[in-house]
């Protein structure tokens, strides 16, 4: 597939990430010069341009590889950015293949809608220009990550995504909580990226030695079956563990950090300190799925690594269930949505985990869920944003009865809630159903059971949120005189609502599949669909029973569970454990002693030598009596001894 005959847009597909970058530079440098509104307009326009470009790239790509066939990866544009050694370099380029096109479209669309929404939401905020600059930086780095053709390019954009989320979470930098949350987010993801980086170097090292003649860092090399066989045999030299399994686990560590999988999930709930559109874009639709995308991109390596996929499946499943349980007890609307995001990503992860090279059905299901989830989760967050904007609080117990006050927001929110709960006509149903089916079909019954149970839990906590916020009557005078969101905020809501419905009907399996494998299984479809819907309805009913109307029955139930309820409410005290580890152990028991050691022992050694010199010199002062003749005597004595020695030596 020669580059020349690619369409114009494909050849310069670097425009997609480049547009937000240019507008970031423009807005960042000239934010102060021209008016606030202009910054918003420039930023939104650039992302719109990038969205159009992404659409064109998708159209042209699927014109070359029609949906039915198996889409190859194209690298229409790439330059050698940094050369370490002759065959070892970072090439920055654009890789176009089904999942990267999918992600491009999703990211640009959601980003455009969030930009539009933000122009309304952030009006009058201090640092309006700064906000849009950072949002553009995020969009650039996310797109850079998606189109990456070289794993190190992906790592670089990975870090930039981490940076922009740090900047955006800490946007209200005058609030200590926001600052702490941004710090926590960056450091936790940075810790995870460490594993990712070591995984990359490990792959690069063995790739460099084994795959002579090829660039070990390029995805094309890493996903080509030929090179994977060569790598499969190698052992990584670390306690005899195989190369691919170790590299896969390390890379998964990076993915788990960014997608907030179980051990490294603590930063996502706190990341809600940032402005709500940020949470919508970054902590729901795009950044957190970067981990899933990474695993999908490296699926060749993961599949060849065998038991690494199992780890992915179990971590995904556990996070899915764990987050859903916590979500049921949260009082802050954004925290509930954050944990629900965690749970949904858990779904995507274990969908990837259960699939394998033999039957990659889960791969397609996971991507499908990623596609649909981006829309309805963004909608949920933006809806929540509209609610918070109106009631100036994010405590769900202070809201209530907003159905009449904010009809359109209520409608779109309901659509999204139904979709996430997995009710038939909405997109959530199709993608979640596919995931459950792939788990069942690949024989991972345990994972399937957890998935089903979580589907019920998801429906429960989402409708708990829905009933407490929209149904019943306002529990607080703030909620009393809430008013409908401005138009510029409503358009994205409606658009996302439409997308949340349509997304389900897209024949996804034709577009995205891994290797020649078939799209979706046919048999067992109806059974799983039925089970999923029943679980969802049960959840809804139970939450209606508890929370509709006065919602007093909930307190009674909570009281009965008591201790368990408290523990779950505090997120199983995992945050406290982390704080304990960092502050008590790392700072108190490692950094402080090392600092003390440096100040007293190493520094002390130098001062000691100074002190010895002083003391010994004071010791010799008794020789200086001031008597000239004493010196004379020493002189004569000394010269005699010297003469003796000279004379004896001569002897």
């Amino acid at each position: 597939m020669q580059n020349a005959d690619l369409s114009f847009i494909l050849r310069n597909s670097w425009l997609v990430p480049a547009l937000p970058l240019f507008s970031f530079a423009v807005v960042a440098l000239f934010a102060r010069r021209f008016s606030e509104k202009a910054a918003g307009v420039v930023a939104t326009a650039s992302v719109f341009g990038s969205a159009v470009a992404a659409g064109l790239v998708a159209r042209d790509y699927f014109r070359i590889f029609p949906p039915g066939t198996d889409g190859q990866a194209l690298v229409p544009w790439s330059i050698e950015w940094l050369r370490y050694q002759d065959r070892l370099s970072i090439t920055v380029g654009v890789l176009v293949d089904p999942i990267s096109v999918l992600l491009m479209v999703v990211v640009t669309t959601v980003s455009f809608l969030v930009h539009l929404y933000s122009t309304g939401y952030m009006r009058g905020e201090r640092g309006y220009g700064r906000y849009f600059a950072f949002l553009n930086l995020f969009t650039f780095s996310m797109l850079g990550l998606v189109v990456a053709s070289n794993i190190l390019q992906m790592y670089m954009c990975w870090e930039l995504v981490g940076l922009s989320s740090f900047l955006l979470i800490g946007f209200y930098y005058s609030r200590p909580a926001a600052v702490a949350a941004s710090k926590k987010a960056f450091i936790v993801t940075r810790f995870a990226d460490l594993g990712f980086f070591i995984g990359i170097i490990l792959l690069g090292y063995h790739g460099f030695n084994l795959l002579d003649g090829q660039h070990p860092f390029d995805f094309i090399t890493l996903s080509s079956p030929a090179s994977l066989e060569k790598l499969a045999g190698a052992t990584s030299g670390f306690l005899g563990v195989g190369l691919l399994p170790l590299a896969a686990v390390l890379v998964f560590m990076g993915a788990a950090g960014k997608s907030a999988m179980f051990p490294l999930h603590i930063w996502l709930p706190d990341a809600m300190e940032g402005p709500t559109p940020v949470s919508a874009l970054i902590h729901a639709a795009t950044m957190v799925v970067a981990g899933v995308y990474l695993v999908a991109r490296m699926f060749g390596v993961f599949a060849a690594a065998g038991d690494a996929l199992l780890l992915v499946a179990y971590v995904g499943a556990f996070t899915c269930f764990f987050a859903a349980v916590i979500a049921c007890t949260q009082d802050d609307v954004k925290r509930v949505l954050a944990f629900s995001t965690l749970s949904q990503i858990g779904y995507m992860m274990f969908a990837l985990g259960v699939s394998s090279a033999a039957h990659p059905m889960g791969y397609t299901a996971s991507m499908f869920h990623l596609f649909t989830h981006a829309f309805f989760k963004a909608l949920l967050f933006l809806g929540a944003g509209a609610v918070i904007h109106a009631t100036h609080t994010s405590e769900i117990w202070k809201m209530g009865g907003l159905r009449r006050k904010m009809p359109l927001t209520h409608a779109t929110f309901l659509v999204a809630t139904l979709s996430i709960a997995g009710i038939w006509p909405f997109s959530g149903f199709f993608s979640k159903d596919e995931i459950l089916l792939s788990a069942l079909a690949s024989g991972h019954h345990g994972v399937f059971a957890i998935g089903l149970l979580t589907a019920g839990l998801t429906a429960f906590y989402m409708f708990r949120l829905y009933f407490l916020v929209f149904s019943g009557f306002p529990r607080d005078e703030q909620a009393g005189h809430a008013h409908e969101a401005p138009l510029v905020m409503l358009i994205p809501l409606v658009a996302l609502a439409i997308l949340s419905v349509l997304a389900g009907w897209v024949p996804f399996s034709d577009f995205v599949r891994f290797g020649g494998g078939g799209g979706f299984h046919e048999e067992g479809h109806a059974l799983v669909a039925a089970l999923g819907t029943v679980a969802a309805l049960l959840g809804i009913g139970f939450s209606w029973f508890l929370y509709a109307g006065k919602g007093t029955r909930a307190e009674a139930l909570a009281a009965r569970f008591g201790a368990l309820h408290l523990v779950v409410k505090h997120k199983f005290y995992i945050d406290e454990i982390y704080l304990f580890i960092t502050h008590k152990i790392i700072f108190r028991c490692i950094a402080a002693p090392v600092a003390w050691f440096d100040r007293n022992v190493v520094d002390g050694g130098v001062n000691l030598s100074g002190w010895c010199a002083r003391v010994s010199s004071r010791g010799l002062t008794f020789l200086q009596t001031g008597q000239a003749q004493a010196y004379g005597a020493w002189l004569v004595g000394g010269s005699i001894i010297v003469l003796l020695v000279a004379w004896a030596a001569r002897l």
């Binding site: 002062t621 001031g626 004379g632």
Partner: protein, 110 residues
Amino acid sequence: MLEVLASNPPGVFHWLVLSSLLFSIGVYGMLSRRNAIGVLMGVELALNSGALNFVLFNRLLAPATVDGEVMSIFIVTVAAAEAVVGMAIFVLLFKQMKTVDMTQASQMRH
């Protein structure tokens, strides 16, 4: 007795013993005297024995040349110069401290 005297004239060793004896007495003078001028006398003695040595070696080892004697002339002049400076210092010392006792002049201790 005359033959004995004529037969063994004082060889180099004898001269050297003499000059080193004088030198040692000079050293004794320098170190024991309390009076600064006494010390200077000791120095003169030592220098004198040095000059003697030069002439001694010149005459006994290289009679033809005069280098030894020239050196001893220089020694004498240097001794003179040294004596002048020494005396000037002692005069000042005396004006400052009313005595030339060496043991008192130890202000340069530290």
